[in-house]
Symmetry: C2
Subunit: 185 residues, 2 copies
Amino acid sequence: MPNFTRNAIKDSFLKLLSQRPLDKITVKDIVEDCGVNRNSFYYHFEDLPALLEEIVAELVSSMIERHPTIDSVEEGCGAIVEFVTQNRRAIYHIYNSLSRDVFERHLMKLCQYVVSAYAETVPAGLLSDEVDKAVVVRFHRCALFGTVIDWLNEGMHYDIAAYFHRISRLRLGWPENSDAGASCV
Amino acid sequence: MPNFTRNAIKDSFLKLLSQRPLDKITVKDIVEDCGVNRNSFYYHFEDLPALLEEIVAELVSSMIERHPTIDSVEEGCGAIVEFVTQNRRAIYHIYNSLSRDVFERHLMKLCQYVVSAYAETVPAGLLSDEVDKAVVVRFHRCALFGTVIDWLNEGMHYDIAAYFHRISRLRLGWPENSDAGASCV
DNA sequence: ACCCCATGCCCAGAAATCAGGCATGGGGAA
DNA sequence: TTCCCCATGCCTGATTTCTGGGCATGGGGT
């Protein structure tokens, strides 16, 4: 029982987000874009922030679903790069708004997933104990997150895919490859 | 006030048409594909043939809208080539079914449009009188139509775009370029 | 100080979708 | 051939969803 109107509203919102800043988008704009009554918006969503929350959460979880397992650092970075590049303009407009926190919260969730999913694949014994592992996971999660935020703050100018590819061997290596993780936490 | 369910049904039907023969598609298949109640199908469409009729008509008219003017023989052929190649598999499954007539009827309409739209651009005086013009238009319309049908009967094996390009100067030229039109009618 | 407009909400009615069931009829299997 | 399965087309009533209209609030801009 799919709700087409609900989806149409979300599609329009995402479309408008790729065109102009979040604060320049009103409920009226959205419903006019998809030809839906304004009340239908409030029928489905509490308000605009609620819709934003759902949209961003959905973008992240769909990316997670597309990577049920993370078998390498490169794949983990790939998932994040996919997320930010496929929604490049929308992310730009969400990030540079008063709702920045919404984006950061879900980006962090994605990074958490990527790192911990990969951590699962690392054979036990390579890390001293569970505490170390949690610490390393957190460190890498924050490293991924910070990298994306930096890229956003730099105006998304450079090629984040190439950048991630380059750093994937430097900072994302696990202890057996590099000591960055252990030494920086 | 767009009807999303109606569109979803049409999308699913077109999707299924690109996958298997028309006679292997049931109403149940369609509604299951788009997650809609079977009764909603009958709410929007009289039956499957009616849906087919609407779909094909829509494909043709959208192609016509994308070519508001036909300024050259090449463009006319291009519109037809677009139509048959962009819906290649669906057309195959419609054409090789008991509903072949639906497809042929609308294909003929498209050919009619293409030829008569181009005929508008031919300066008066190049053709002897209005009767001649009508005859030539009909001839070319049928030539385009027959060419597509032949391509379908040949199993859509050869490159119809290249073929159209090749024949556009042979058979589609207007009298000032070739006598094929006048001599064959 | 004022107006404009987006917001959020309310209502009542219209429209659309749903679940469930029923009769028919064609195609395939026994 | 006979029988059974299943797709079809339709119906009814209930439910969900959508719409149009209106109203009060509050912030931003004139």
